[in-house]
């Protein structure tokens, strides 16, 4: 391991985790906020712009900005072919959070899909250990 790899809070892998958690929280806030102010009869509502009248949507936007900043930092150090698939751990965390916090239903088939994503993530994550040694 060379000395030029940032450590502590600047560690790109920690920033990737921070980015992912902010995305999960923001998605839940967006769904709740957007639904609260939904006016499905308005033609303009397809643009989503009326979502901005919800305070929850603005909290979500704040989280999106934080996750975006840490994601840009991640892109400096980690190849996209590794960082992006790993960031899809949100595809596991979001449905499970929907189930826990929003009361949405997860079918058996959906749980199988979530399991497939986890296997895929494990395949992508395995070479990361070797990449770390090289960095």
């Amino acid at each position: 391991m060379t000395s030029n790899r940032p450590s502590g809070f600047a560690n790109p892998w920690l920033q990737l985790a921070l980015s992912v958690l902010c995305v999960v929280a923001s998605e839940l806030l967006l769904k709740r906020g957007a639904t609260q102010v939904a006016d499905l009869n308005s033609a303009l509502s397809w643009t989503g712009i009326n979502g901005l009248t919800s305070a929850l949507v603005w909290w979500a936007i704040l989280l999106v900005i934080i996750s975006f900043a840490s994601w840009l930092y991640v892109l400096k150090y980690i190849p996209l072919t590794i960082a992006f698939p790993l960031s899809r751990v949100v595809d596991v965390l979001v449905p499970i959070s929907c189930w826990i916090f929003l009361g949405e239903v997860i079918s058996v088939r959906r749980w199988c899909g979530i399991a497939l994503v986890i296997i895929g993530l494990a395949l992508v994550a395995k070479p990361v250990a070797r990449l770390e040694e090289k960095l």
Binding site: E27, L40, L72, L80, I119
Partner: protein
């Protein structure tokens, strides 16, 4: 699921993928000692613009469909981004990474059709 909704979902996907590629290319340039600041700024701007378009389209879709149904469409972006990063950004794409990306996408698609 109307045709309009499908078109909007695909449009959000394409703008998202293009945005990521621009951002990665811009941020990678900043690790070099002497990088062209104006071209990095333009690429970052293009990336942010594309992601913003994708964001608002998604917000409109969220008002009509369950999050756990809509969101997984972005799973398709895993395979698309991995392939385009290998082609455009010349990143190494091993079989292991490709199979991992395909499994993630398969899982996400399975989630979305449930």
């Amino acid at each position: 699921m109307t045709v309009l909704a499908l078109v909007l979902i695909l449009f959000a996907l394409v703008t998202f993928v293009a945005g990521q590629i621009f951002l990665k290319h811009a941020m990678e340039s900043t690790t070099q000692t002497a990088f062209p600041k104006s071209s990095v700024a333009i690429q970052l701007g293009a990336g942010i613009l594309l992601m913003t378009v994708s964001f608002f389209i998604t917000l409109g879709l969220l008002q009509r469909f369950d999050l756990s149904y809509l969101y997984p469409f972005q799973g398709l972006s895993v395979v698309i981004i991995s392939v385009i990063a290998a082609l455009v950004l010349k990143e190494k794409l091993s079989w292991r990474l490709m199979i991992g990306a395909l499994l993630i996408t398969a899982g996400v698609v399975l989630v979305s059709i449930s």
